[in-house]
């Protein structure tokens, strides 16, 4: 646990309505649980008594005082899922993982949870694994779902996946192409832009495959760093007033030659992006 991180989180939410829950939520999002020292630090920084913080941390189901696994599985046992056999699915998850709901596997791979409603009632029984919804789950599906989760549900095969395709982009300011055919990423011409962060200048080469998140950069950009992007031709900063819906950082616009605009999040590691066809 990094005390600076906690301090940043506390400062960010201090002024906000109901700040304690927001602070704890972000700590939980960062560490996947609420470490004891973090709660003590929050207590010192906010002046709230530790017992009050502990009370909130244990009252709400979202918070966990135990470290959680790499993958989060929530099985819906809401009414609609219940009448369609959600309980059987939950049992199958418990059986396959060898832990009861609410527990984490000893290898810290999976944390299993039962949720009273995930809000996709029409498609029950529903399970959500790492943010991916699985609908009309059958008992026999469970094993496959867990296998896929182990491999990574976001993993895509860039070469064969028909959802992934190359786009050709240019600078929104000078309309100069940003494509660099001399340097391939994912086997296609890369998108080259210049960057700066924390007073370091460099370049980034992005995969032009929409759906691939492959990036090469010089120098290496640490995760979570917000980067300024510039056009290598007109040197204008590529920036819009829009901020990323996933993380709040600024979005970087580029014109798509075939039509439309693509915006990508300026934060390293964030997958926020929008392809607008208007």
């Amino acid at each position: 646990m990094n005390i600076q991180t906690i301090e940043n989180i506390v400062n960010k939410h201090q002024q906000q309505q109901g700040s304690l829950i927001a602070i704890l939520s972000e700590i939980q999002a960062t560490y996947s649980y609420l470490p004891t020292d973090a709660l003590q630090a929050v207590s010192k920084m906010t002046g709230k008594s530790l017992i009050d913080i502990y009370g909130v941390a244990t009252f709400y189901k979202y918070f966990s005082l135990q470290p959680r696994g790499k993958h989060l599985c929530s099985v819906c046992v809401g009414t609609a899922c219940h009448v369609r056999g959600g309980e059987v699915i939950a049992e199958e998850f418990e059986g396959q993982l060898g832990v009861a709901a609410g527990q984490t596997t000893p290898d810290r791979e999976f944390t299993l949870g039962k949720v009273a409603c995930l809000g996709a009632c029409a498609l029950g029984p529903v399970a959500v694994v790492d943010g991916h919804y699985f609908s009309s789950v059958k008992k026999t599906d469970v094993k496959k779902i867990l296998e896929r989760a182990r491999d990574g549900l976001d993993k895509v095969e860039v070469k064969t996946d028909q959802r992934i395709f190359p786009i050709d982009v240019s600078c929104p300011r000078c309309n100069h192409s940003l494509m660099d055919a001399s340097h391939l990423v994912d086997g296609h011409p890369s998108i080259k832009v210049t960057t700066s962060f924390e007073r370091t200048h460099g370049w980034v080469r992005l995969s032009c495959l929409w759906g691939s998140y492959t990036v090469e950069s010089q120098p290496e950009i640490p995760l979570d760093t917000v980067v300024h992007f510039f056009c290598p031709h007109c040197h204008a900063e590529l920036v819009t007033a829009t901020s990323c819906a996933d993380c709040g950082a600024g979005m970087v616009p580029m014109i798509v030659r075939q039509g439309g605009v693509i915006q990508i999040c300026s934060r390293r590691g964030c997958k926020g992006h929008m392809l607008d066809l208007v």
């Binding site: 906000q16 309505q17 109901g18 304690l20 829950i21 927001a22 704890l24 939520s25 009370g55 909130v56 009252f59 709400y60 189901k61 809401g78 009414t79 609609a80 219940h82 009448v83 369609r84 056999g85 059987v88 059986g95 396959q96 060898g98 832990v99 527990q103 596997t105 000893p106 009273a116 409603c117 809000g119 996709a120 009632c121 029409a122 498609l123 029950g124 529903v126 943010g131 919804y133 699985f134 609908s135 059958k138 008992k139 026999t140 599906d141 028909q162 959802r163 992934i164 395709f165 929409w210 759906g211 819906a245 798509v256 075939q258 039509g259 439309g260 929008m274 392809l275 066809l277 208007v278």
Partner: protein, 1065 residues
């Protein structure tokens, strides 16, 4: 996006956008709501974008990505504009075709939405029943806007209501307007919104006031708030802006569940866009009105839906409710006046202002104006979100919009109001859906969950489910809620396990009222509703659990045990003989069958295998185990004579009992009475014993030597069979008693066919089904000639048709049925076999007249029907189409529309009572008739029924007659019918299981079937039977496995190894 500083600027912007968007390009619309994303709609969107870019089609066609349209079951789907073609369950490969045909202004017919039952395709979204019967006032906007684009919202008239408010209305007028609209809180309690606002407006505002949008949709089974927030966040923002203007509120809060990331994302974007445009924040549209909204995320606590708990949660504290007064409008968040409304309530506000209160109040009924969005889910065909005017009968929602039950099981109730609500039983489905009617029926509107339950839903389990939820969610502040919900759950748990007594049910009722009366907040006050309403409407189910130890829905595990065993009317341990078969122990397997069933070989051929319909393989995604075929395999190998039943020693001189009827019911009773030492005389009206097995069931299903052999094995020294002795003709009940019989069991069967009741049905060539079958089965007479018509849709119709088809001189056989094939009561496999053999099926026709020439049938006139509403039997009814009569030429007409008992009130047998349907009346639990000492069972009391039910009646009759003769109470003590014997498992490995397919018995070739009466179904091969037996999931192991060998519960244990666990322990 430039900030707008005045109302004219907003108007101008809207005009520009509308002009910009008004082009003639067609458009495809794809839903990206959470439910559709779960059905992979995001892949559809990606592929669509790829196609549009690669083919450079952007100037020819447009794409809109929207929030939820409501028809989640049909997702992922593509809607096109302006044609409104609705393509459901679209695959990635379909996308290019849909785009191309839309460009050409055409339709891809085969991908259009089709009704699952009728197969009818709909060319326009508006014609699809799911949409047609809705009134989508607030929800309709979702398909017209991309929730991430404020311009879309503006283009569809968004923020016009705000415009109108700021331009032309005083805050007082806004409140009056909302009051006049009759809008009531959509969160469930139904408090008038205008009144709430009025109270807030009357509070001093010097320290600020709060408006809250409650989006803590914790109610399991409801998700309309999520879909509104995801699909049209600006509607909520606009509603709150109007509310703030009316009440003088300064701060807005949207309290939203953390489980709804997409809703949060869209709301963040919408708030930012609204702020950028100057629609939110300081000096809105250049006026003096300022208001801003922030998002507070709930961290998962159901009780935070309660307003005082919600406020504390917004303050960042533990979400415990507090006592009211002071009410939130006086003292709310941070001590400031606060008004809380639900998402859907806010979404209604702009509509009221835009249309005017008077116009709005026309929707719905008096006192319940407007529409309500319901989440129609559970055991229903068309699941999704539906918006209907209040006052619509539940029946219309369930059947017209929902399309009726999702499977074969009939719908028995809907649950509304979530954990605070209750159930409305099917017989009350005419109830109009509004706040007041629902609360009178013992439930509540709640946020709008409508969970449909069918015969496979156990109401005790539902009550237990909710109580379990509530005991976990009770914040613990009030003792009676905290402990009361726990205790109620314990009682319900006991009932579901068959451990409870009737007194506990009374205690549950009492406790329910205590909790209701002595708790502080809504959670506790309504916590008893699920239990109370299920007890009120489904008391019988509770009694079945408590007295009979039965869960008829097959849900309560402790009572169900192994579903196959529970489903069998005679409790055959199917899992057990399957287990022996898997290990090659055929004699042991036979003994297991024979212990419960004196007719193994007969049932191996003609049983309707209720066990298979409950098999866990079938209910969890695969196909059920072929239990009947396995039984057949065993009975082929073992001689019935090899089994020596256990006999009881009878004290004193043997008593005599008479059994009338030698069908499976009569002979079963005789057999078990004989084992108990009674001397039984069985009277048979025909020349040979066997009853319906010989007279009714065709030979190609049940060869006669099989029946004879089985009956022979049953008849012992204690049993005398007298044939050619009909009740009323040769014997009387009075006479049987006079001869010294101490009791009489009537098991006559139903050998007389019901009449059509139309003109000339007595003409030559026209036969009721039973006489037709009996003539052939007993005497070999072949009555069918030429073109044969069979009227009816039950098993005897199919039997008659298939028998006719095999008779020489028959050209064709056509079954005429008044409904459609789905509604036919005959076994589906039999229908399929008949059609394969060449029997034709004419659906949806009712005969009106028999055509006769020279005293001989020459045809029949019938009228066409169409399917109508669902009737009491849970099937679609039929409605004659006027002027659709036409004739068909026939040489033989067989009427198979049901059977009755043979003789109505035979002479010398007084003292019996009969029902209107022509059946004998006997107590279904004791089989005792109105005349002491006379018992009756089987078809004679139930009407035509299955062989296994007749055997069950025979077994019960033996027990009851024995108790009667010993002067004991006529009651069979109920016991949990769960597996007790451990048989070491031999099962397929998980991988093999995945690959395995259900074994289907080989059939006689079609040619041989048409030309003779050889048995159609053959036995499985040894290899196939062994493999099929190993496919069994062995539900019994949960109850029988020795403790030490039970699957490891410790973390890391792999339960898939349980089949390999040695049983040596």
């Amino acid at each position: 996006m430039a900030r707008l500083n005045s109302i004219p600027e907003l108007k101008h912007l809207r005009e520009i956008i509308q002009e910009d968007m008004a082009d003639s390009r067609p458009r495809i619309v794809v839903c990206a709501g959470t439910a559709c994303q779960a059905s992979a709609s995001s892949d559809i969107i990606r592929v669509a974008k790829r196609y549009l870019l690669e083919k450079q089609l952007l100037d020819k066609i447009k794409l809109r990505i929207t929030g939820c349209h409501g028809f989640c079951e049909a997702g992922p789907f593509i809607l096109t504009e302006p044609m409104k073609a609705f393509y459901h369950r679209v695959g990635l490969a379909d996308v290019p075709r849909i785009i191309e045909t839309t460009l050409e202004g055409k339709l891809v017919e085969e991908l259009l939405y089709a009704d699952a039952v009728t197969g009818e395709r709909y060319r326009c979204q508006d014609d699809i029943p799911f949409f047609k019967f809705q009134q989508r006032t607030i929800f309709g906007r979702n398909q017209k806007v991309d929730p991430m684009r404020i311009y879309d919202y503006l283009a569809t008239g968004g923020y016009k209501a705000l415009e109108k408010t700021l331009l032309a209305m005083t805050p007082r007028e806004v409140i009056e307007e909302v009051k006049a609209s009759g809008l009531r809180g959509r969160g469930g309690a139904g408090f008038p919104t205008g009144r709430k606002w009025e109270l807030l407006a009357g509070q001093p505002g010097d320290r600020g006031k709060y408006l809250v949008c409650n989006a803590d949709e914790g109610d399991p089974g409801a998700y309309m708030d999520r879909s509104l927030l995801e699909g049209s966040p600006h509607s909520i923002i606009e509603g709150m802006l109007i509310g703030a203007y009316a009440t003088g509120a300064t701060h807005g809060v949207v309290y939203v569940r953390n489980e709804y990331p997409l809703a949060i994302k869209h709301l963040i974007i919408a708030l930012r866009q609204a702020r950028d445009l100057g629609l939110l924040g300081e000096s809105i549209l250049g006026s003096k009105f300022s208001f801003d909204i922030e998002i507070v995320k709930g961290a998962g606590a159901f009780v935070c839906g309660e307003e005082t708990a919600l406020m504390r949660s917004v303050e960042g504290k533990i979400g415990e409710p507090r006592q009211r007064p002071p009410f939130p409008v006086e003292k709310g968040i941070n001590g400031r006046p606060t008004a809380i409304n639900n998402v859907e309530t806010w979404a209604n506000v702009p509509i009221i202002i835009e249309r005017g209160a008077a116009e709005y109040a026309k929707i719905g009924t008096r006192g319940n104006s407007g529409t309500k969005v319901f989440s129609l889910v559970g055991k229903i065909r068309n699941t999704g979100l539906v918006e209907v005017p209040m006052g619509m009968p539940i029946r219309d929602i369930v059947h017209k919009i929902g399309g009726g039950p999702s499977g074969k099981a009939a719908i028995k109730a809907v649950q509304t109001g979530g954990p605070s609500g209750g159930c409305v039983p099917y017989w009350k489905f005419d109830l109009p859906i509004d706040y007041d009617s629902l609360s009178e029926a013992g439930t509540m509107m709640g946020s709008g969950g409508m969970i449909v339950m069918d015969e496979n839903t156990c109401m005790v389990d539902v009550a237990k489910y909710f109580m379990n939820f509530l005991k976990d969610e009770s914040c613990g502040k009030c003792f009676t809620c905290r402990k009361g919900t726990q205790r109620m759950h314990e009682i319900l748990d006991d009932i579901s396990k068959g451990k409870a007594l009737m007194e506990q049910l009374d205690l549950l009722g009492e406790l329910a009222y205590v909790v209701k009366d002595t708790t502080m907040c809504g959670l506790g006050q309504t916590a008893s509703n699920p239990a109370l309403s299920t007890i009120r409407y489904f008391r019988r189910e509770y009694q079945r659990h408590i007295f009979d130890k039965r869960c008829d829905a097959f849900v309560c595990k402790e009572l169900v045990g192994a579903p196959c065993q529970s489903a069998c009317p005679i409790g055959t341990e199917a899992w057990r003989y399957t287990a022996h078969l898997a290990k090659g122990e055929y004699q042991l397997a036979y003994n297991v069958i024979r212990e419960q069933n004196p007719f193994p070989s007969v049932c191996a051929r003609v049983c309707d295998h209720k066990c298979e319909s409950r098999c866990k393989l079938g209910t969890t995604g695969s196909r059920p185990l072929a239990i009947r075929a396995l039984k057949r395999f065993i009975t082929e190998r073992i001689d019935p004579m090899s089994y020596k039943p256990q006999r009881q020693r009878h004290e004193g001189p043997p008593e005599r009992v008479a059994v009338v009827g030698s069908g499976p019911g009569g002979l079963t009773a005789a057999h078990y009475l004989s084992l108990m030492g009674y001397h039984v005389t069985v009277y048979e009206a025909d020349a040979e014993p066997g009853g319906m097995l010989v007279a009714g069931v065709p030979k190609y299903r049940l060869p006669r030597d099989v029946v004879r052999k089985e009956i022979e094995a049953l008849i012992d020294d204690n049993i005398t069979v007298k044939c050619n002795s009909a009740l009323g003709r040769d014997i009387t009940i009075d006479g049987l008693f006079a001869e010294g019989n101490k009791a009489v069991f009537l098991a006559l069967g139903a050998h007389r066919s019901r009449r059509l009741g139309i003109e000339q049905e007595d003409a030559k060539g026209c036969y009721p089904a039973m006489p037709f079958l009996r003539a052939f089965n007993l005497k070999g007479e072949k009555l069918a000639k030429g073109r044969v018509g069979v009227i009816g849709g039950g098993n005897s119709a199919i039997d008659a048709a298939r028998v006719a088809l095999r008779q020489e001189g028959v050209e064709s056989v056509t079954i005429l049925y008044r409904r459609s094939r789905q509604e036919m009561p005959a076994f589906p496999a039999e229908i399929e076999a008949a059609l394969q053999e060449g029997v034709k099926l004419e659906e949806l026709v009712t005969p009106t007249k028999v055509q006769v020439k020279d005293g001989q049938v020459c045809g029949v006139t019938f009228i066409r029907n169409r399917l109508g509403e669902v009737d009491q039997s849970g099937r679609r009814s039929f409605v004659p189409i006027p002027d659709s009569e036409r004739g068909v030429t026939l040489d033989t007409l067989i009427v198979a529309i049901g059977e009755q008992i043979l003789e109505f009130n035979p002479a010398g047998s007084e003292g019996l009572e009969y029902s209107k349907q022509g059946t004998l009346i006997a107590d279904p639990d004791t089989l005792a008739t109105a005349r002491p000492g006379v018992f009756a069972g089987g078809d004679v009391i139930t009407g035509p029924n299955t062989v296994v039910d007749a055997i069950a009646a025979g077994k019960k009759a033996a027990v009851m007659i024995h108790r009667f003769l010993r002067g004991e109470e006529l009651r069979q003590p109920a016991e949990r019918n769960v597996p007790r014997v451990y048989v070491e498992p031999r099962m397929l490995s998980p991988d093999e299981q995945e690959e395995a397919r259900r074994a289907e018995p080989p059939l006689l070739s079609l040619r041989d079937r048409r030309s003779g009466f050889d048995e159609v179904e053959k036995a499985l091969t040894q290899e196939a039977a062994a493999r099929e037996a190993q496919r069994c999931l062995r539900c019994d192991l949960e109850f029988t496995q020795p403790k030490a060998a039970a699957r490891p519960a410790a973390p890391g244990g792999d339960p898939s190894t349980r089949s390999q666990v040695p049983a040596s322990a």
